[in-house]
Amino acid sequence: MPTLSFKQITKRFGSLTANDSITLSLGDSEIMALLGENGAGKTTLMNILFGHYVADEGSIEIDGKTLPSGSTEAAIEAGVGMVHQHFTLADNLTVIENIVLGTESLWRWRHDMTAARRKLIDMSEAYSLTIEPDALVADLSVGERQRVEIMKALYRDARILILDEPTAVLTPQETENLFITLRSLTEKGLSVIFISHKLHEILAISDHVAVLRRGKIVGTIKTVDADRNGLAEMMVGKAVTRPRLESMEPGAPILTISGLSATSSNKLPLLKRIDLTIHAHEIIGIAGVAGNGQAALADVLSGLNRNYSGSLELHNKTLTDAGPSEFVARGIGRIPEDRHARGMIGDMDIWENLISEDLRSKKVSKWKTIIRKKAAIERAEHLIDSYDVRCKGPLAQTKLLSGGNIQKLILARALSPNPDFILANQPVRGLDEGAIAYVHEQLFAARKRGAAILLISEDLDELLSLCDRIAVIYQGKLSSALPTSARTVTELGLMMAGQTIQGSFESERDTSLNSNSEIHAN
């Protein structure tokens, strides 16, 4: 008898069928990978299992017993534990407090942790998960926080563990550690559902793979019988080839960053003396674990943060004290990290969003005051056409578009003025394969015509296949940018974790910079 089985689960949101009669089963001590693109229905299915949504049709059985629908309590009671992609931990509490949170009655007289502590210590021995119960969550690394999330599920006696895109925030080495943990958990009889769109991880960890596409199961296969290309084709529905980098001689220097430092509003260092020169016909990648200064670097290079020291030069002319509009006017194209929060204004129409960066230019407004709507709509029609945006037209509301089409609009706005320098911050995060290939093609086209491109990404595979040179950012310091051919995944992974490798982070290690890691060591 399977531990967990989904029987004919169907869930509709209006006209969209997010899950279309999905039948799946998971056995004891098994790791099942759930593979699918964004919007394929993976998260919906897990939310139904966890009681956040109620299925329109179908049922879920755990150990042969039907799980009451729509009840998170029942799911936890039945042994389902979920580790969300975005952690749900309270930073200002300790590990043990976070783990116990929610399991105690609010109507108790005193706060007794002895039993909880004993259970936690037993657990960490049984599953060889080392964790300091009294450490503050704020002081933990991302990998450790994830371990706390897993412990939280185990503390509630989970036997089925769901991990939603667990490796998105991990370095390759941390991912390897997670896999070791997962294997030891399944040896103890736990079952795991591993949600991901990264093929090599799925091939490395799972026992079998269920592939979802547009809400339907398109196939369930044993991992030993699966290969990368076959899975990719099942996931996308057709063979998709990402464009390849043509070799090209770099041209003249376009953007020169020297001695760039920035601090946060509460005076913590974000960037430490960064030096980088990007040439025409060149894509430079910035690798690093999220939160190591990428956002601060992107803010400076988009013109949002003028509060920095050091200098930025575009074509040997300094950019100091210029804001976003001057950046755009001087030939910088910017693709922001969060396309919904920063990139587009969802409540405005498409034509309105496409003029937002040059509102006071002659093309867009008369006397910098009255908007030339007709010209703006013509521009939108032209861009929708040339960037292949699937929409009802320039007057459609932007928030109705899919993520991929919104990203195409952002590309249209940023790239159509043919900027000399392009900042692309996580340009393909959350996009489906077709859209990813499109974004990459556009970046290659810009490189070909002579643009200098800085690509910030957490996905090493993307960086290795797209970039001429790669630099690693760690706690605000940038390593030198070496040619991609001279980099290996292992080496990059170690650098992302802060290890000094010859020719990486400038010689002496600043002590204040490592204050964080010292706390862990204690």
């Binding site: 949101f13 209006g14 006209s15 109620v54 988009s302 013109g303 949002l304 804001g323 976003p324 509009s325 950046f327 755009v328 910017r334 922001p336 929060a341 920063r342 990139g343 587009m344 204004i345 969802g346 409540d347 405005m348 309105e352 937002s356 960066e357 509102l359 006071r360 407004s365 910098k368 005051t369 009255i370 908007i371 709507k373």
Partner: protein, 350 residues
């Protein structure tokens, strides 16, 4: 029960929302009327007659809608950029103070100059008053709801001090009121009889002007962009703080004009009961109008009709005038629910 987003909102459904809301309000409030022991239909008939039933009633309804249109516009503009100005009441009094200061002998111009001059001074006073909260917000991130609301009381106490002290009209037999606006500063009456004055034209022009600014200009675009998504607006190169300051100046200015219009158009002088909360009702007007400048006109007329009609109804039958406040409150809630239902649907399961 689950709430789900609709795929699209039909025009019919969007148009029906305010009508349904008005109807729902009347049904809900009928309970109170029954409680007061008056037949519901008779009460509503009296209310309707009191608001629209005679040329006097109509004139009163229109007269009362003038300050509501202006404060409604003030709130609608500010809320559009997510600047929550709850201080239209204070800005109205600031405008009224300006009209008294400049309109009672400071200067005497021909009427065609004097009236616009007073309106301008009132707008500047209202805008200047709102500058305090807006700078506190943009420089120090102080919440504007608190500062604008509390400034209302500051201004009201200031008015009280002035009209009981230095600005008291010596000819007013000791009543706390200011001197009267000079003849050239008075907003002319629109009709031979009744109190309807040229403030109505000012308010209607303001509505059209605000609509045009919001729809056709770069400034209007920026106000909307900042309101919808300030982060994305900033990323695009819009100066968010500057936009909020401009919005506040427009908003405070409109409320200030409402004060001038009440003093120079209706009362002739300033008293402490110049406004029975027009600034606060302006929030209700703006919400009813869904922040659309042109819809502010019918929304203000509707609320004005409720107030005028309820006054008349309470005189005829034994229902306190407070029913008007209840009607206004319920209608705002009803419109919010109805608007939500145009965008979402509720599904009951099992």
């Amino acid at each position: 029960m689950q709430i789900e987003l609709r795929d699209h909102t039909s025009l019919l459904r969007a148009g029906m929302a305010p009508i349904t809301a008005v109807f729902a309000t009347l049904v809900i409030c009928s309970a109170l009327i029954v409680w007061a022991g008056v037949p519901v239909l008779e009460a509503y008939a009296l209310l309707f007659k009191g608001a629209f039933g005679s040329s006097f009633a109509l004139k009163e309804t229109f007269t009362r809608s003038i300050p509501l249109m202006l404060t409604g516009l003030a709130v609608a503009v500010a809320f559009r950029s997510k600047f929550y100005n709850i201080g239209a009441e204070g800005q109205l009094y600031a405008g009224a103070l300006a009209s008294v200061y400049f309109g009672t002998g400071f200067i005497d111009l021909p009427a065609f100059l004097m009236v616009p001059f007073l309106l301008l001074m009132g707008a500047l006073a209202g805008g200047a008053l709102l500058l305090v909260p807006v700078l506190l917000k943009t420089k120090l991130k102080v919440d504007e709801v608190v500062t604008t609301l509390l400034l209302n009381f500051v201004v009201l106490l200031m008015v009280s001090y002035l009209i009981e002290g230095p600005w008291r009209d010596p000819m007013a037999m000791g009543w706390p009121q200011s001197a009267s606006i000079i003849d050239n500063g008075v907003l002319p009456a629109l009709l031979a009889k009744g109190r309807l004055h040229a403030g109505l034209i000012v308010a209607l022009l303001a509505a059209v002007l605000v609509w045009a600014v919001m729809r056709f200009t770069v400034l209007g675009y920026e106000i909307k962009a900042v309101g919808f998504n300030a982060k994305a607006a900033e990323f695009s190169g819009i100066n968010v703080n500057k936009t909020v300051v401009y919005t506040a100046l427009i908003s405070g200015g409109l409320a200030g004009i409402a004060g001038v219009s009440e003093v120079a158009g209706l009362k002739g002088y300033l008293t402490l009961d110049l406004s029975p909360g027009f600034g606060y009702t302006g929030v209700a007007v703006a919400m009813l109008a869904r922040l659309h400048p042109l819809s502010v006109v019918p929304a203000a007329l509707f609320l004005s009709a409720i107030y005028v009609g309820a006054d008349s109804m309470s005189r005829a039958v034994n229902i306190p005038t407070y029913i008007a406040d209840v009607l206004v409150g319920v209608s705002v809630l009803a419109i919010l629910v109805c608007v939500m239902l145009t965008q979402y649907k509720i599904r009951f399961r099992q």
